[in-house]
């Protein structure tokens, strides 16, 4: 369907990649850890190494949680747009197939939040 309008209705989308000064947006959510109320939104250069995302911004964002230090990254299960995803930590975001406004989630088996409450 289209907008009902009195004349031609054609406006630019607000959040295309060209507006982010060389960065692309990546959304990251940690399953079973609702202490963080929502997934995060990050602007990263597409050339950034995936492993650097985990060690830097993800640690800064999720590190408050006592579970974060316990994570065995070799056992983590990743999802991209809800489907299984196997990122290569040594490759860039772009080389891992991550595009502007992609959403990834990670599940940490055995770590399910404060007293197992998914918080």
């Amino acid at each position: 369907m289209a907008v009902a309008a009195i004349s031609k209705y054609d406006f630019a989308p607000a959040d295309t990649q060209d507006k982010f000064h060389g960065a692309q947006l990546l959304y990251i959510g940690w399953e079973d850890h609702l202490l963080f109320c929502a997934p995060f939104c990050f602007p990263f250069p597409p050339t950034m190494r995936f492993g650097d995302v985990v060690a830097g911004p993800m640690k800064a964002a999720f590190g408050y949680h006592p579970d974060f230090a316990q994570i065995d990254w070799t056992k983590v299960e990743w999802l991209k747009s809800g489907k299984p995803f196997a990122p290569d930590f040594d490759k860039s975001l772009a080389d891992n197939g991550l595009r502007h406004k992609d959403v990834i989630r990670f599940r940490t088996p055995g770590l399910t939040g404060i007293k197992g409450s998914c918080n």
Partner: protein, 517 residues
């Protein structure tokens, strides 16, 4: 000698007819479609505008008389409240945060509603709805003004309210109510009437005003209670207008039914999402609770809305399908919302805090199916950490829903442990949603919602810093720059209630009011 004979007054029905249809005329040298250019493009068909009748049969002369009386009553009480240092009579200083939420989140909407009804009134060829829209437009600007007047007294003493209209246009969470109303006023006049007049005023307004107003009454806030009641006396008329609009449109042409149904589905959901703020206000921000969000939803939506949609069934209108999901969310909504504001306490214009033991017990009792299992462990952890000097301030920006603009905090219907993710690919870009309903709304009019001003994305685009800011300098403090852009003072307007100036000042002033020092 002449006898003085009292002139016979017109009856209500005659007076209404004279003062509405009697004032209208048929244009002779301009075409109707040139005078009313917005009336056809939404696909709504109206055959006889004279079928419209305001059930109250209120005319402008009577309107002015009763509105003047309402104003006199209101300002007498506001004066008394101010003269008597009424702000020190509220239950405790946490309460004042509900007033901050109101002035920055709701009052600016009253002003936009004023503009919206003025525009809709101008668009309709029928004199009946035109007069009703004129009245409502005037009501709405009255609400905006009286709320600003009443709350200005709090602004003299407490933080976070000093630039509410500036904040309304900028602060991340205020984009939720702002974009809701912007969506409505940028629709056509019929959709506007269904969105605000019917879905918001008739179906949902009781959940906004009655809890705020009775919350104010329960918490000793005579000022807010009074402007609330004064506004609410107009709301009763707005509700009647909203219901009349729907019935009128549906009776005019059967082809209108599916269009109206889609608008009702859309706007009930959009309005409900905005009420997330009210849900958390009721369950967390009122030191003395009136009823829980869940109870209010059951009384005002499930019972009352149930009766309404049963009545509208004769036109072929059904209960909006989002009602099923809302029923699943009612055990969780307020807790998920409060957690979000607790997370982002550094970036809001009001304070947050953890409920005390008694309040946790109240929440357990009101939410036996959800609170102890899902939310108490989270709160107890946060409380322990805060006691150790490690109060949680989430400093990473959240992912937002493209339609409602709320952070993606809502869980899957039926599974409160999983965030609900939905997405759509549109013209080469991805768009994300908090729910099936927000996704469907986008899919129906993607051209509109791709333009959304999402605060998080705008920050990353560099559009939310004061002029002249250079975000590329080393050690750039993004949060600090964004707060400056919001005109919020870090450490004063934001952060936890426990360390707030409001808390300290209230205790000191109340002490002065009751002791000779």
């Amino acid at each position: 000698m002449d006898m003085q004979v009292a002139k016979k007054k017109l009856g209500l029905k005659e007076r209404y007819s004279v003062m509405t249809r009697g004032l209208d005329w048929t244009p002779s040298y301009q075409k109707m479609e040139d005078i009313y250019p917005y009336i056809a493009y939404e696909g709504i068909k109206i055959h006889d505008w004279d079928k419209w009748e305001d059930p109250f049969r209120l005319t402008m002369d009577a309107y002015w008389k009763y509105q003047a009386e309402k104003e006199r009553k209101l300002y007498a009480i506001i004066d008394a409240f101010n003269q008597n240092n009424g702000h020190l009579n509220v239950t405790d200083a946490r309460y004042i945060n509900t007033v901050k939420l109101f002035i920055s989140g709701i009052s600016p909407l009253e002003y936009v509603a004023h503009r919206g009804f003025a525009h809709a009134g101008r668009a309709f060829p029928g004199p009946g709805p035109r007069v009703a829209c004129l009245m409502q437009s005037l009501d709405e600007i009255r609400h905006a003004q009286t709320q600003v007047h009443a709350i200005s007294n709090y602004n003299k003493y407490y933080n976070g309210m000093h630039d509410f209209h500036h904040m309304h246009d900028r602060v991340w969470f205020l984009s939720v109510p702002k974009s809701f109303f912007d969506d409505a006023i940028t629709a056509g006049p019929f959709e506007f009437m269904v969105s605000i007049g019917f879905s918001f005023e008739y179906v949902l307004t009781n959940l906004l005003f009655v809890p705020f107003v009775s919350g104010a009454a329960y918490n000793g806030d005579m000022g807010t209670m009074t402007f609330g009641f004064s506004a609410q006396s107009d709301e009763a008329r707005h509700m009647t207008l909203g219901l009349e609009v729907i019935k009128f449109i549906l009776e005019q042409d059967p082809a209108n039914v599916p269009i109206v149904q889609r608008w009702i589905d859309k706007w009930t959901w959009r309005g409900y999402r905005v009420l997330t703020l009210v849900a958390m206000m009721m369950d967390y921000m009122l030191p003395k609770r009136t009823m829980s969000w869940k109870e209010a939803w059951e009384v005002y939506f499930e019972e009352n809305g149930g009766a309404l949609f049963k009545d509208l069934a004769r036109y072929g209108i059904k209960m909006p399908k989002c009602a099923e999901q809302i029923a699943l969310e009612k055990d969780h909504l307020s807790h998920q919302a409060w957690s979000t504001f607790y997370n982002y306490a550094a970036a809001a214009n009001f304070h947050t805090w953890m409920p005390d033991e008694d309040e946790m017990a109240w929440l357990s009792a009101k939410y036996p199916n959800s609170f102890d299992k899902h939310y108490r462990p989270r709160y107890e952890f946060w409380r322990e950490q805060a006691a150790k000097g490690n109060r949680f301030y989430n400093k990473t920006l959240p992912m937002l829903c493209q339609t409602c603009q709320i952070p993606m905090l809502f869980t899957e219907p039926g599974d409160p442990t999983k965030i609900c993710y939905r997405e759509v690919d549109y013209k080469g870009d991805k768009y994300h949603f908090c729910s099936d309903h927000c996704k469907e709304i986008f899919e129906h009019e993607p051209e509109k919602y791709v333009q959304a001003w999402l605060p998080v994305h705008q920050i990353y685009q560099g559009n939310c810093f004061p002029e002249g800011t250079d975000p590329t300098v080393e050690g750039f403090d993004a949060l600090g720059a964004v707060l400056k852009y919001y005109n919020l003072e870090h450490g004063r307007d934001n952060l936890d209630f426990d360390i707030s100036e409001d808390k300290k000042n209230f205790a000191e002033w109340r002490g002065q009011a009751t002791k000779n020092i």
